[in-house]
């Protein structure tokens, strides 16, 4: 297809190559390390679930015990496999014994690694059977009841109470929503464990728990049958428990997960080593399970300027794409993010937004681009806000976005009310229908505002990526080049949970999850 922006694809190739080198460089670091959250993920995937008497999740109890014994470099998989060999029990039974204080998992006699690995096989198989069944079920739904057209209408629910969320989510689906994201409660991302069971108390969001996932999945399947459209479920695979939540999402058939290689570092001050190692484990899971990941570039524009720093968004999209390639994530599961966040008082701001959105589409033609609405410049003037959202919707249909996170007129005031979602879905449907083929019809003036802007941003992104390649990603983040936020290599939350792998370390899941088309 001819570029509407007259982009120089040699620059695109160069940027992509820099990003690939950056990701490879990081991968060397990642491959040498593991984290407590990665190890807890392995236990969850082996079937460990539930909590001990004082509500500590069993995956935490077991990993903490291994860590305290200084045995984490060998990996939880070995210790669990060995415990199966020595006791003949299941991973869940073993974890319960550890939780009850009856077993020290590292104090058992030890078997060779191959024997431990073999003992895990039936449990790994059971998990893959379950995940494969979920994948088949999604495929069956999509085939039988179908789905809405792109851009998918994507809205959030955030009441704090999962049962109230269900009411809101089903209402949104009936109004036309295609994707429901359950926003996580304030501060869950810094918890170094995943809470357990159904929850009814959250602030600005609802706890991400496996039971809550199950409750919402069931509700969306029901309403999907009713409205004759598969309704996708989204949650956050981010924060300190990033890969564990990806595993929960795999087991409970989430369809979309927010998952970014850098977001947690910048916006939650999570240690960079921790996040980069964690994102790898989460992405291999996401890739296998047919989940669309959403990267979080849009957030840079809340702390940085959308006009001056647009190229950091593009650069980060390249990096997120290349990390995804390393985790074997198919292109149509790459929900690379960007946002409509320019100051609405900017002259020709609409043209600049349009330029950026079309550019993202041309650079990543097969990605499931996730487009985020105006947030920072939304105000208490809900009437103007509704108009800002309309312009955002116009850019989306024009540039062919895939996942459209709908803007809410009340964005500056509160998490959405039921009527806000209705108004925003109506807004989007009106514009998407009325302007359906605008992108096919309109071409841009050669060397005009739209084209020139795209060239400028792409060139700057390419230059930034060249710099990042030279300095390395860690150093770039230390210098505050993304989102204008500086984070130290050894600072932030969760560094104590990072550990160098020992010689005998093994993670039986990586290769299995990577093994798909």
């Amino acid at each position: 297809m001819k570029s509407k922006l007259n982009l120089d694809f040699k620059v695109v190739d160069s940027a992509r190559q820099h990003a690939a080198n950056i990701a490879h460089d990081m991968q060397d670091f990642i491959d040498r390390h593991t984290t407590v959250s990665t190890e807890r993920t392995i236990l969850r995937l082996l079937g460990v679930d539930g909590v001990d008497e004082v509500d500590n999740p069993l995956p935490n109890v077991v990993v903490d015990q291994i860590k305290e014994a200084g045995a984490l470099p060998t990996g939880a998989a070995y210790w669990m496999g060995n415990a199966i060999v020595q006791t003949g029990k299941t991973p869940q039974e073993i974890a319960e014994e550890v939780g009850a204080g009856k077993l020290e998992i590292t104090k058992l006699p030890t078997c060779p690694q191959e024997e431990a690995a073999k003992a895990l096989e039936p449990f790994i198989q059971a998990t893959f059977d379950r995940i494969d069944a979920q994948k088949a079920k999604r495929a069956e739904y999509l085939q039988r009841i179908g789905e809405g057209p792109e851009p998918y209408l994507y809205v959030i629910v955030a009441t704090g109470n999962i049962y109230e969320d269900v009411i809101q989510a089903q209402a949104a689906a009936r109004q036309g929503a295609d994707i429901i994201a359950v926003i996580r409660t304030t501060a869950q991302s810094l918890l170094d464990y995943v809470p357990y069971g159904p929850t009814t108390e959250g602030f600005g969001g609802t706890y991400a728990t496996q039971e809550n996932f199950r409750i919402m999945r069931k509700a969306l399947d029901e309403v999907g049958e009713e409205v004759g459209r598969y309704i996708r479920l989204c949650n956050y695979s981010s924060g300190m428990c990033m890969p564990e939540i990806a595993a929960m999402g795999a087991l409970e058939r989430l369809d979309v997960m927010l998952n970014d290689a850098i977001y947690g570092i910048l916006f939650r001050d999570i240690n960079m080593q921790r996040t980069l190692v964690d994102q790898f484990m989460s992405r291999v899971i996401i890739g296998y399970c047919g989940i669309i990941f959403n990267s979080g570039e849009d957030n840079y524009l809340t702390t940085d300027d959308a006009i001056e720093s647009a190229h950091t968004v593009t650069a980060s999209q390249f990096i997120n794409e290349q990390f995804a390639v390393l985790a074997n994530i198919p292109e149509n599961q790459m929900g690379l993010g960007h946002a409509f966040e320019m100051d609405p008082s900017t002259e020709d701001g609409f043209l600049l937004e349009l330029s950026q959105a079309i550019m993202a589409r041309e650079i990543f033609p097969n990605a499931r681009l996730k487009y985020m609405p105006p947030t920072k410049f939304m105000t208490g003037n809900i009437f103007r806000g509704h108009l800002q959202d309309a312009l955002f919707n116009l850019v989306a249909i024009w540039s062919g976005q895939s996942l459209q996170l709908l803007g809410m007129l009340t964005e500056a005031i509160h998490t959405p009310h039921m009527q806000d979602r209705y108004l925003s879905i109506e807004n989007a449907k009106y514009i998407f229908n009325n302007c359906k083929h605008i992108g096919d019809e309109v071409e841009f003036k050669e060397g005009g505002i739209v084209q020139s802007r795209a060239h400028e941003v792409l060139d700057k992104a390419n230059a930034l990526l060249a710099e990042v390649e030279k300095d390395g990603l860690f150093k770039t983040i230390e210098q505050g080049k993304f989102g204008g936020v500086k984070r130290p290599f050894d600072g932030g939350h969760g560094l104590e949970g990072v550990c160098v792998k020992g010689e005998n370390y093994f993670n039986p899941f990586i290769a299995r999850f990577m093994d798909h088309e």
């Binding site: 209402a171 304030t186 501060a187 916006f267 920072k376 509160h414 039921m418 009527q419």
Partner: protein, 265 residues
Amino acid sequence: MADNKNTAIAQVDLTQVKPYGDALNDGKVEMAFTLPVPYGEEAEECAKQYVKKLGFQEPNVTYYHELTPGFTFFVVYGSAQQTIDYTAINVPKVEGTVMDRVECGEWIGEHIGRDIVVVGASIESDAHTVGIDAIIQMKGFHGHFGLERFKHVVPYNMGSQVPCEELIAKAKEVNADAILVSQTVTQKDIHIIQLTKMEELLEAEGLRDKIILTCGGPRISHELAQELGYDAGFGPGKYAEHVMSFIMQEVEKRGWQNKPNIADR
């Protein structure tokens, strides 16, 4: 024609004001809300009666729509009857004169004769830094430079999700004159809970009258701040110069010019 003149341009009576649509005292108000009732004519009537009960006359449901079975959305017009005595209104405002950045620097030099030290953070569960950054960081917000750009001001910005205990410890360590707390998330009044915790901890440490305590955020007003035991509160449209004008005049009022150390206050 002369007769019409009085009625044509009725004068507003500020002791009895009510909403204005296109004629004085028509009381016109537009409302939008949802009722948890099934869509239908009964729903329309229910909205009408509800608005009447709120005190509006001639309620007119101009639009209603089913959001989901059991929930109906309405747009309703009505004529308000209640009036307010505008002349009797009293809004608590932050005391003192507001000076700009340069004036603040000079004023501190002249009246305080030493640097003013402040410590700020977005506390507890709140991860929003843009508000506190707008006040403290050099670049400021909307063309208003932050405290880092002020002469004779030494600001420390601790970022977000800072536990109250840590913020207080830092204030003690650097002998802060004032603490700046930012709160953005307000769902289920979490900001009230966290702001209260901060105030109570400071009280418990015996520091409440030794440090000026201020807060700010999109849903913070000076009145709310005072109710929560803070010295001042700053909402939208307030910038570094507003909070610094208050703090420096308060430092003078309290006679802390020669008391840079908390222990001496």
